[in-house]
C-alpha cells in the first residue's frame, strides 16, 4: 500500500480524496515494533473521536495542528480526512518517518512531517542538539510560524499522549514555560489536547479544600489555563509497544482511563501586574504556600514580610485564619498582585529565590 503511494507521488491527492487508514492489525504490529515505550492510537473509532474533539470546524480553523508521535499515522489520516487545513506531525521515532514522509509527498502541503519529539523540545543539557531533540525556535521558524500576542487566537493545537514515565515532569515543565512565556508559549496561547492519566487529571483539577490533592501543581494549571475534560478512554484502547509491559501506575485516586484534556491558556493570565518576568515569583509563592495545605496563609505572608499578612488578607477580604489549602487559584493570583505592588515585600527573600530545576528535562 505504502509502496503504491510512493509510486504515485507525482500526482498530489486532492483534499477530498479519502485516505485509507490501513488494517488495524497491521497498524498494531507496526506500533508494537517501536523501540521506545509508547502508547498509540490505532483504533479508527478512537481516532475519529479525538478528531471530533479537536473540531468542530477543522476545515475552517486556522490553528495549525501538531500531532505528537503519530506512529503508524491513524490519527494523522483521520485528521486529514476530516479536512484539517494544516497538520504537522512531530515524530521522534525514525522508523515511522519514511511512511509519514511518503504520505507528506502525496498531499498538497496539508501535512508536514518533522523528525522531532515534542517532549524533548528545549532540553536543559548543553550537548549537541540532534533530532529528535530540538529548540522550539528552530521548529517554529522552519514551519514559518511567528511569535504572536498573548491575546491573539490560538495559533497551534497540540494533540498527543503524554509519555507515562515523564508525565508529571512534562506537565511541570510546560507550566514553567507557560508562566515565563518561553518555549512554545512564545508563539502565543498554544492549546494542548493531551491524553493524561486519570489520576493526574484528578490532581490537575483538585479543588481547594481537598487537602490531599490540591497542590501547587493543580492550582497553577487552573490559574493559567481553561481546562476541559474532553473524553475518557480506558487504558486498554491504546496500543503499547509490546516488548515492554507498561504497568498502569497505582494511585489512591481512580486511575482506570486516559483522559483527553484540553488546556487553553487564559487570555487574561498576564496583566499589568503579572508579567512573564515576575511570574516565576508567583509560581514560587504558590509552591511555598501549598507545600503545607493546612498552614495558615497569614503565617506564610508574615514570613515573607512581617506584619503584612493581616493587612493583605483584609484587602483580599479573607478570613484571618484561612488555610492555604482553602484559597482558590484566582485568589492566589490576586494576592500576588497585591504583594507585588506592596512596598513591604521589596526586601523579602521571596524575590531572592530562584527556582532551581535539577530535572533532566528542564526548560529554558
Amino acid at each position: 500500500e505504502v509502496g503504491k503511494m510512493k509510486g504515485e507521488c507525482f500526482r498530489p491527492l486532492g483534499r477530498y480524496d479519502f485516505l485509507d487508514l490501513g488494517e488495524v492489525e497491521e497498524n498494531t504490529q507496526r506500533a508494537q515494533l517501536c523501540r521506545t515505550i509508547k502508547r498509540f492510537i490505532i483504533d479508527p473509532a478512537l481516532a475519529k473521536l479525538v478528531t471530533h474533539h479537536l473540531g468542530p470546524d477543522l476545515e475552517e480553523s486556522k490553528a495549525v495542528i501538531f500531532e505528537c508521535n503519530p506512529g503508524p499515522g491513524v490519527l494523522t489520516r483521520t485528521l486529514l480526512n476530516s479536512g484539517a487545513q494544516r497538520v504537522v506531525t512531530l515524530e521522534g521515532e525514525k522508523s515511522f518517518l519514511p511512511d509519514l514522509q511518503a504520505l507528506e509527498c502525496l498531499l498538497d502541503g496539508q501535512l508536514e512531517v518533522v523528525h522531532c519529539d515534542f517532549f524533548k523540545l528545549d532540553p536543559m543539557g548543553r550537548g549537541s542538539m540532534r533530532p529528535p531533540a530540538m529548540y522550539t525556535d528552530k521548529l517554529f521558524t522552519d514551519l514559518g510560524i511567528s511569535e504572536a500576542n498573548w491575546t491573539d487566537e490560538v495559533p497551534v493545537k497540540v494533540v498527543g499522549i503524554l509519555p507515562q514515565r515523564i508525565e508529571r515532569s512534562q506537565l511541570w515543565k510546560l507550566l514553567y514555560v507557560l508562566f515565563d512565556r518561553l518555549s512554545i508559549y512564545r508563539y502565543g496561547r498554544v492549546e494542548l489536547n493531551m491524553f493524561i492519566s486519570e489520576k493526574e487529571y484528578l490532581k490537575l483539577m483538585a479543588k481547594p479544600g481537598d487537602m490531599l490533592n490540591y497542590r501547587a501543581f493543580g492550582a497553577l494549571w487552573q490559574m493559567a489555563c481553561h481546562i476541559e475534560l474532553l473524553h475518557k478512554e480506558p487504558w486498554a484502547s491504546f496500543v503499547t509497544s509490546s516488548k515492554y509491559k507498561l504497568a498502569i501506575p497505582k494511585s489512591r485516586l481512580p486511575n482506570d482511563n486516559l483522559c483527553l484534556v484540553r488546556m487553553t491558556p487564559r487570555k487574561d493570565l498576564f496583566s499589568a501586574s503579572l508579567t512573564p518576568s515576575n511570574a516565576a515569583t508567583l509560581v514560587m509563592m504558590v509552591k511555598q504556600c501549598l507545600a503545607k495545605r493546612k498552614a495558615r496563609l497569614v503565617d506564610r505572608l508574615n514570613m515573607w514580610s512581617p506584619d503584612s499578612g493581616p493587612k493583605l488578607l483584609k484587602e483580599m477580604g479573607m478570613q484571618e485564619d484561612v488555610l492555604t489549602g482553602h484559597v482558590y487559584p484566582e485568589e492566589y493570583k490576586q494576592l500576588f498582585e497585591l504583594v507585588d505592588k506592596s512596598q513591604e515585600f521589596t526586601q523579602s527573600w521571596l524575590y531572592e529565590e530562584v527556582l532551581e530545576n535539577t530535572q533532566k528535562e528542564g526548560w529554558i
Partner: protein, 1339 residues
C-alpha cells in the same frame, strides 16, 4: 520460678514483699478478670486468646489503692470508648454489654474482698482456671452468666482480630515514635496488670490439640517453669524437626523432575540421555555438597543460627525503648521510666517487644536505691513477661543486696544458687557485666557476705588470633622491636590530662586563621553587633526551651508514648542553647535542609550526653589511672615491653578491676530520635531567634524579624524542607568574619596517643564514643556481627588500628604559613586553596523594568546564569569553609604533637576519626603534616626523598627508580629555587600533580643537601609508596593471571609497567582492526587513543564502574581534546568503553571470571533473601549494608519529615546494590587486610607506618624495609586459599540453613546457588613468589 521462689523464703525480707504483694494482687486479679471474661465472651473467641492464659499481676506502687482506682477508671474509659466505637454495628448488643459490664465489675470487687491475705498460693491455682475459661471461650460459660450466641458476634470477632493484626503490625514498625497514638482500638489490648503466657513447653512438635489438653495440667502445676518465649523456644524444635522431612521431599522432587519437552522426536532420546547424565552428575554434585554441609552443620555451634534472627526482629523498638529509659534514668526521672516500662509491660502487644535488658535498666535503678522490694517486683515482672533473668539482672539484685548491710545471707545464697541453676557462673558477672560507679564493689560486698574469700578470677590468659597470617606476629616476639615514642612518661601523662580536659568540655573553641587579618572598624562593629545579638538569642532560647519543656512534661499522659521530654533534660538548658547558637555560624548562606540540620543538632546533643554519662559513671579517675600506667609502654624512658598496646591495656584493666568499667554501654540513639530532637531544636530557633530589621540599615522600618526561615525548595518534583538564614544574618556574619570556631572535641586530633582498641566497643578517644566500624545511621548489623565474633579473632584488626593511631604527627610550619597567606589573600584555584566569597561571581539580578527589553532567549540565558552563579557561590562557600576548618585546626596545632585515632568502614578500610583535618585529606592537608618523630636519612634516604619528589610531580611514571633519581638530580636548581622562593621564584613546584606536597618535599631536600652530612640529617618527612592499580593487583593475584600480573607489576621488570598504557595499546589494536573493516567511528578515532583517555575507566573498573559510567568518563576525556570532532563524542565514547572492557577481559582473564562469579553469587544470595556476608582472611566479619529502603514519617510541628531508612536489616536486601557492590567490596576487604598485615609486621620491625588505603607511608630510611614487608605480606595473603575459603563460608552460611525447601521453584533456586557457590573460578599459573622481587609492586 527462680526469684519468686527465692522471695518466698519465709523469714527473709523479700518473703514479706511477696506477702504484701499478694495481698494486693488478689483482689485486683479477680476484679480485672471478671471484666475481661465478660467482654471476651461476647467478643466470642478471638483466635489469639486460645493460646494464652490470662491472669493478672500486681501493680508495684506504693499508693496502691489510689492507683488501682485510677487504673480501673482508666480501664472503664477505654472500654467505654471501645463500646461506643462499635455501637454503630450492633446497638442492642452493646447495651446488653454495658449492663453486664457494670455488674461484672461490681461483683468482681465483691468477690475479691473475700479473699484472705493468707491465700498466697491460692491465687495461683485460681488464676489458671480463669485463664482456661477464657481460652476455651466460645460456647463455654466461665463464671456464671453469659449467653452470647448473637449473630453479630462473628463480625465483632473479625473486626477485632483485624484491628489487632493491623495494630501489632503498626506497633512493631513504629512503636511509640509516632506523635499520634494509635487510634481508639486500644481498649481490647489494654490488659492492666495482666500477664500473658505462651504455653509452648518442650512439646513443640505435638499437635495443637495435645498442647491444648496438656495445658490444663500444666497450668495447675505452676506453669511458670514451662513457659517460654514464643519466638525463640517454640519455633526452634519445630524447625529442627521439619528439616529432615523437607529435605527428603525436596530431593525426591528434584530427581523426579520431568525432562523438558523436546521439539524433535529423533533427537529426543539422545538429548534425554545427555540431560539425564548431566542431571545425574549435577545431582551427585549437589548431594556431595550437601553431605559436606551436613558435616559442617554438625560441627558448627547450634546457637548461632537462632539468636541471629531473634536479635534483629525487634531491634529497633528495643533500642528506642532502651534509649528512652536510659535518658529518663540519667536525668533522674525514675518515675517516668518506671511508668513507661510498666505501661509497655501491661500491654500484651508491647510486652512482646521488650527484652530482658530493658527490665534490667529499671533493676539497676532500684539497686542504686537499695530497694529490695522493687527488685523482687522486677523479677516478678520478668517472670510474667516470659523472660529469663540474665547476668545483668542478677548483678543488679546482688548490687542491691550489697547496699543493704542487713540483708540476710540466705537471700544472697538463694540468688547465687538460682544463678547456678540458670547456668550463669558468678565469675561471668565480673567479666561480662558493665559496671558503673561503685556497682562492682557492691556486688562483691554481697558475695563476700556469704563467701568471704571469693575472688573474681578474671581469665588472664590471652588467646591469640587464629588466622595463620599473623601466627608469627603473635608467637615470635623475641625479634620484635616495638617502637617507642620520643616522649618521657611524664610528658605523655601531661598530654593525657590536657586531652582529658578537652574531651570533658566536649567542645573546643579555636581561633580561625581569618583572625589573622587586620580588624577594620566595620568588622569590629559587626562583631559587637553579633555578640549582642547572640546574648539576646541566648536569653530568648533558654526561655523558650524552658517553656517548651514544661508543656512537654505535662502533656504526656500516656505512659507508653515516647516523648522528647527526657531527651531535653539530659543537659543544662544552657548547653542546648549553646549548641543551637553554634549551629548558626555553620549555616551556609544558601541554607541547609532541615533534615541535615536536625541531624547535626541531635548528634551533638547525643555526643555531649555520652560524655556527661561517663563523668556521671565516675570512670574518669580509673581511666586516668590506667592510662598513666599504660603510657609506660610507649614512653622512651621506661623499660622495654614485649607486649602490644592492646595487651598491655587489657592486662592493666584486669589488674585494676575494682571500680566502674571503662567500657561505656551507652546505646546509640535511633536515627528517628536524633532527628526528632534536632527538629524540635530547629523549631525553637526558627520561632524565637529574631533581629531588628533596621539593624544594618536604619532607613528601614524597625520590625522584629526572624533570623531563620523555614521554607521549601523543589528538587525534581520533590519538596525539601529548608532552613535559610535571613540575608541580614548572612551579611552580619560575613562582615564580622568571626575570629573563633567552635568544634566538638572529637574534631581535633588527640593530644595524647589514643586509647588502644581492646574490643570492638572500646578504644580511640578518651571519652567521646567511637564506633570501631563506621556504619550508616542507625545500622547495627555490623555491631551485632562484631559482638558475635570470638574476641581473639579480632585481635589482629584491633592491633593494626592501634598501630595506625599511634603514629605521632606534627605540623610543617613553614608550609602552613605559606598556605595561610594565600588563603587569607585571594586564594588560588590552581593551587587548590579556595578563594573567599568576595571572589565569587556576582549573582546577576534582572531588573523588572529592563526585562521588557530582553528577548525571551536573552531572558532564558539570564535565568540560567542566575542559577549557575548561585550554584557556584554555594559550592565556593562550602569549599572555603572546609579549607577554613582544616587550616584553622592545623594552625591551632602548629606547636603540638598530635595523634589521629583510627577506625574503619564496613570493609575494613581504615580512616582517621577526626573528620576535617587528617592525613587522608587533599594535597593541602597532606603537605602540612609530617611525622613528629624524626629519623636520620641514612645511606639511601636522600635518594628516596628525591624519588618521592618525582613521584609527586606525576612525571616520569614509566622510568625506573634510577631514571627518576637521575631526573631529580638534573633539576636540582628548580628544586632549590622552589624551596627558597616558593612564591616569587620560578614556581616550578606549582605545575606538579601535587603542588603543595612537592613544595614540602623540595624544602626537605634543600635542608638535607645543605646539612653537613645528609645521611645524618634528621628527617620527619613521610615518603609514600603507592600500589600500582591496587585493585587489579589483587585480582591478578587471585586469578594468577600472568599477563595481568605483569601489567600491574606483580612480576619484576626493568621499568614499571603501566596497565593504562597496556590497555590503551590493546584498544588501539582493536581500533585498527575495526578501522580496516571500515567502521566509521574507529577511523575517526585514529590518533586519539591515549593512556589518559582510558585511565580513569581502567582504574575504576575494578571498583565496579559500569559501561554507563565508563562511557561518561571517556566522554569527558574526549571533550577535553580540542581537535576531536564534537559530533562524534557520543559514538566514540560508546565505542571506546566497549573496547576498554574487551581489552581488560583479554588481559585479565581470571579477573573477569572472578568478578562474574562474585557478582552472580551475590545476586543469588540476595535473591534468596539474605544479605551478603563474608570474613576477611584476618577474621574480620563483613556484611553489606544495602537493604531496600522504607520511609518513616516524622511528624514534627515544623514539618513532616519522611526519613528514608535504608539500613533496616529486616527489609529485604537490595539485590542490585548487593550484587554490584560485592566484587569491589570484596577486593577492598582484601586490600585492607593487606594493609593491616603490613602495618602489623612493620610494627614489630619498629617502623613508623601509616596508610592511605593503598598508599603506604614511612620515614625515608625505612622505605626499603617497608617495601619488603609489604611484598612479603602480599604473597602471604594470597598464598591463602582465599576464594576457596570464601566459597566454603558462603556455602556454610547460605546453604546449610536453607536446604530442601519443599516448593520446587525455591528448591531449584537453592540448588543453583549451591552449585554456583561451590564452583570457585579456576586460576592461571602465575608464580606468586615473584612478587617478592618486584621493585615496582608498590613504588
Amino acid at each position: 520460678m527462680s526469684l519468686l521462689r527465692l522471695c518466698t523464703f519465709p523469714k527473709c525480707l523479700s518473703g514479706r514483699i511477696l506477702l504484701e504483694i499478694s495481698v494486693r494482687r488478689v483482689p485486683y486479679v479477680d476484679h480485672c478478670l471478671t471484666i475481661r471474661n465478660n467482654i471476651e465472651r461476647h467478643i466470642s473467641e478471638p483466635p489469639w486468646t486460645s493460646q494464652r492464659r490470662h491472669f493478672s499481676a500486681l501493680i508495684p506502687k506504693k499508693e496502691d489503692g489510689k492507683k488501682r482506682v485510677w487504673e480501673q477508671s482508666q480501664l472503664l474509659d477505654v472500654l467505654k470508648a471501645r463500646i461506643q466505637q462499635l455501637q454503630s454495628d450492633v446497638i442492642v448488643d452493646v447495651q446488653h454489654e454495658k449492663v453486664q459490664f457494670v455488674k461484672a465489675s461490681k461483683s468482681g470487687i465483691g468477690a475479691s474482698s473475700g479473699n484472705s491475705p493468707k491465700n498466697v498460693f491460692g491465687e495461683r491455682t485460681e488464676v489458671p482456671k480463669a485463664g482456661q475459661t477464657i481460652s476455651k471461650g466460645g460456647g463455654q460459660t466461665g463464671k456464671g452468666e453469659g449467653k452470647d450466641a448473637s449473630a453479630s458476634k462473628s463480625r465483632w470477632m473479625e473486626k477485632l482480630s483485624q484491628e489487632k493484626k493491623t495494630k501489632t503490625k503498626k506497633l512493631k514498625q513504629k512503636l511509640g515514635l509516632e506523635d499520634k497514638p494509635v487510634k481508639s482500638s486500644k481498649g481490647k489490648l489494654m490488659l492492666p496488670g495482666t500477664s500473658h503466657k505462651t504455653i509452648s513447653t518442650k512439646a513443640g512438635i505435638k499437635t495443637a490439640s495435645t498442647v491444648k489438653k496438656s495445658k490444663t495440667l500444666k497450668n495447675q502445676e505452676h506453669t511458670m517453669a514451662a513457659s517460654k518465649h514464643e519466638h525463640t523456644m517454640a519455633a526452634a524444635p519445630v524447625a529442627a524437626a521439619n528439616v529432615p522431612i523437607r529435605k527428603a521431599k525436596g530431593k525426591g522432587k528434584a530427581s523426579k523432575e520431568p525432562a523438558p519437552e523436546l521439539s524433535e522426536a529423533r533427537n529426543r532420546a539422545e538429548e534425554m540421555e545427555r540431560k539425564a547424565e548431566a542431571k545425574a552428575q549435577e545431582l551427585a554434585e549437589v548431594e556431595e555438597l550437601e553431605r559436606k554441609l551436613n558435616q559442617w552443620a554438625v560441627s558448627a555451634r547450634p546457637e548461632l543460627v537462632q539468636d541471629n534472627s531473634e536479635a534483629r526482629v525487634y531491634g529497633d523498638v528495643q533500642r528506642s525503648v532502651r534509649c528512652y529509659l536510659e535518658a529518663c534514668v540519667f536525668c533522674g526521672d525514675i518515675d517516668r521510666a518506671h511508668r513507661f516500662l510498666l505501661g509497655h509491660h501491661r500491654m500484651v502487644s508491647r510486652r512482646n517487644l521488650l527484652n530482658i535488658g530493658l527490665y534490667n535498666i529499671m533493676m539497676r535503678v532500684w539497686a542504686k536505691k537499695g530497694s529490695l522490694n522493687q527488685i523482687g517486683r522486677m523479677f516478678i515482672l520478668i517472670e510474667e513477661a516470659g523472660l529469663k533473668p540474665n547476668l545483668g539482672s542478677y548483678c543488679a539484685a546482688l548490687e542491691c543486696m550489697g547496699r543493704n548491710p542487713d540483708c540476710s545471707p540466705h537471700v544472697i545464697n538463694r540468688v547465687l544458687r538460682q544463678m547456678e541453676e540458670d547456668g550463669l557462673p558468678v565469675d561471668e558477672l565480673f567479666s561480662h557485666c558493665v559496671f558503673r560507679q561503685d556497682e562492682r564493689d557492691m556486688v562483691l560486698r554481697a558475695i563476700h557476705t556469704v563467701q568471704p574469700d571469693f575472688q573474681s578470677s578474671i581469665n588472664t590468659i590471652l588467646q591469640t588470633c587464629s588466622s595463620p597470617l599473623v601466627k608469627d606476629f603473635y608467637t615470635e616476639r623475641a625479634d620484635a622491636k616495638y617502637p617507642k615514642m620520643a616522649f618521657s612518661l611524664e610528658e605523655l601523662q601531661e598530654r593525657f590530662s590536657r586531652q582529658l580536659s578537652i574531651e570533658q568540655a566536649s567542645t573546643i573553641t579555636i581561633h580561625s586563621v581569618e583572625a589573622m587579618k587586620p580588624v577594620t572598624s566595620h568588622m569590629a562593629k559587626m562583631r559587637d553587633l553579633l555578640a549582642v545579638q547572640r546574648l539576646v538569642w541566648h536569653k530568648a532560647l533558654v526561655g523558650a526551651l524552658r517553656e517548651g519543656k514544661i508543656i512537654l512534661a505535662s502533656s504526656t499522659q500516656k505512659a507508653v508514648r515516647l516523648s522528647l521530654y527526657p531527651y531535653l533534660c539530659l543537659l543544662d538548658e544552657k548547653d542546648y542553647v549553646d549548641i543551637m547558637i553554634q549551629s548558626l555560624s555553620n549555616l551556609p548562606p544558601s541554607g541547609e535542609s532541615l533534615h541535615i540540620l536536625a541531624k547535626e543538632l541531635g548528634n551533638r546533643v547525643h555526643n555531649m550526653f555520652c560524655i556527661r554519662m561517663k563523668g556521671h559513671n565516675q570512670m574518669v579517675d580509673k581511666l586516668s589511672h590506667i592510662y598513666n600506667e599504660y603510657a609506660e609502654l610507649l614512653a622512651k624512658d621506661s623499660k622495654e615491653f614485649d607486649v602490644l598496646p592492646r595487651e598491655r591495656w587489657w592486662k592493666l584493666e584486669a589488674e585494676h578491676s575494682s571500680g566502674p568499667s571503662l567500657l561505656g554501654d551507652e546505646t546509640h540513639w535511633p536515627h528517628m530520635v536524633v532527628v526528632e530532637l534536632g527538629t524540635y531544636l530547629v523549631d525553637l530557633m526558627v520561632k524565637h531567634m529574631k533581629v531588628n530589621s533596621d539593624i544594618l540599615n536604619s532607613a528601614y522600618d524597625r520590625k522584629l524579624i526572624p533570623v531563620l526561615y523555614h521554607m521549601y525548595t523543589f528538587r525534581s518534583n520533590k519538596q525539601v524542607g529548608f532552613i535559610k538564614p535571613h540575608p541580614i544574618l548572612t551579611q552580619m556574619q560575613q562582615d564580622a568574619m568571626d575570629t573563633t570556631l567552635t568544634f566538638d572535641s572529637y574534631v581535633m586530633p588527640m593530644l595524647c596517643p589514643p586509647v588502644p582498641w581492646t574490643s570492638a566497643k572500646f578504644g580511640a578517644y578518651l571519652l567521646t564514643p567511637t564506633k570501631m566500624m563506621r556504619a550508616v545511621e542507625g545500622a547495627n548489623q555490623h555491631e551485632i556481627l562484631l559482638e558475635k565474633c570470638q574476641d581473639a579473632d579480632l585481635h589482629a584488626v584491633l592491633d593494626s588500628l592501634n598501630q595506625l593511631g599511634n603514629a605521632a604527627w606534627r605540623i610543617n610550619q613553614p608550609l602552613l604559613d605559606i598556605i595561610i597567606s594565600i588563603f587569607n589573600d585571594k586564594g588560588s584555584e590552581k593551587l587548590d586553596v579556595p578563594p573567599p566569597n568576595s571572589e565569587a561571581p556576582k549573582i546577576p539580578r534582572y531588573n523588572q523594568q529592563d526585562s521588557a527589553t530582553f528577548t525571551s532567549a536573552e531572558k532564558a540565558h539570564l535565568k540560567r546564569e542566575v542559577v549557575n552563579a548561585k550554584k557556584k557561590c554555594s559550592e565556593m562557600h562550602s569549599l572555603r569553609m572546609d579549607a577554613l576548618y582544616k587550616l584553622s585546626i592545623a594552625n591551632h596545632m602548629r606547636d603540638e604533637v598530635f595523634w589521629f585515632p583510627h577506625n574503619m568502614d564496613f570493609r575494613g578500610r581504615t580512616y582517621p576519626c577526626p573528620p576535617y583535618f587528617n592525613h587522608l585529606g587533599s594535597d593541602v592537608t597532606r603537605a602540612v603534616l609530617v611525622f613528629a618523630e624524626g629519623k636520620p636519612l641514612g645511606p639511601g634516604g636522600l635518594e628516596w626523598l628525591k624519588i618521592h619528589l618525582v613521584n609527586l610531580t606525576g612525571l616520569k611514571k614509566r622510568s625506573s627508580l634510577a631514571g627518576r633519581l637521575e631526573y631529580a638530580n638534573s633539576i636540582m636548581d628548580d628544586i632549590l629555587d622552589s624551596a627558597d622562593n616558593p612564591l616569587i621564584g620560578k614556581k616550578w613546584w606549582q605545575n606538579a600533580d601535587e603542588p603543595w606536597q612537592t613544595l614540602a618535599c623540595c624544602m626537605e631536600i634543600a635542608n638535607a643537601v645543605r646539612s653537613p652530612d645528609p645521611t645524618h640529617f634528621i628527617s620527619h618527612f613521610p615518603v609514600h609508596q603507592d600500589g600500582s592499580c591496587n585493585g587489579l593487583q589483587h585480582y591478578a593475584a587471585l586469578g594468577r593471571d600472568v599477563i595481568g600480573a605483569t601489567s600491574v607489576n606483580l612480576i619484576p621488570c626493568e621499568v614499571p609497567q603501566d596497565v593504562y598504557s597496556g590497555v590503551a595499546q590493546q584498544v588501539e589494536e582493536f581500533r585498527v582492526r575495526d578501522a580496516e573493516k571500515g567502521l566509521k567511528i574507529a577511523q575517526v578515532l585514529e590518533g586519539f587513543i591515549s593512556r589518559k583517555v582510558v585511565k580513569q575507566t581502567v582504574m575504576t573498573v575494578v571498583y565496579g564502574v559500569t559501561r554507563y559510567g565508563g562511557r561518561l568518563q571517556i566522554e569527558k576525556r574526549l571533550k577535553e581534546i580540542d581537535d576531536f570532532p564534537k559530533e562524534y563524542v557520543w559514538d566514540a565514547s560508546h565505542y571506546l568503553v566497549h573496547q576498554v572492557f574487551s581489552s581488560l577481559k583479554e588481559m585479565f582473564t581470571g579477573t573477569r571470571e572472578i568478578q562474574d562469579w562474585l557478582t552472580e553469587s551475590a545476586r543469588l544470595i540476595s535473591k534468596s533473601g539474605s544479605t551478603v556476608e563474608w570474613v576477611t582472611p584476618l577474621g574480620l566479619p563483613i556484611i553489606q549494608p544495602y537493604h531496600r529502603s522504607r520511609t518513616q514519617m516524622l511528624k514534627a510541628t515544623i514539618q513532616y519529615l519522611s526519613l528514608q531508612i535504608t539500613h533496616d536489616s529486616k527489609e529485604r536486601p537490595d539485590t542490585v546494590k548487593q550484587k554490584n557492590a560485592f566484587p569491589p567490596n570484596f577486593i577492598h576487604s582484601l586490600d585492607s587486610t593487606h594493609m593491616m598485615l603490613t602495618a602489623l609486621y612493620c610494627y614489630s620491625a619498629g617502623l613508623t607506618f601509616v596508610s592511605v588505603h593503598d598508599c603506604f607511608w614511612t620515614h625515608a630510611i625505612t622505605v626499603d624495609t617497608m617495601n619488603k614487608v609489604c611484598r612479603e605480606q602480599f604473597v602471604a595473603l594470597h598464598s591463602q586459599p582465599i576464594l576457596q575459603e570464601l566459597s566454603n563460608f558462603l556455602l556454610k552460611k547460605y546453604c546449610s540453613g536453607l536446604q530442601s525447601e519443599v516448593k520446587s521453584k525455591k528448591f531449584l533456586e537453592y540448588r543453583r546457588m549451591l552449585l554456583l557457590l561451590a564452583k570457585v573460578p579456576q586460576t592461571g599459573n602465575f608464580d606468586l613468589q615473584r612478587v617478592k622481587e618486584s621493585t615496582y609492586f608498590f613504588s
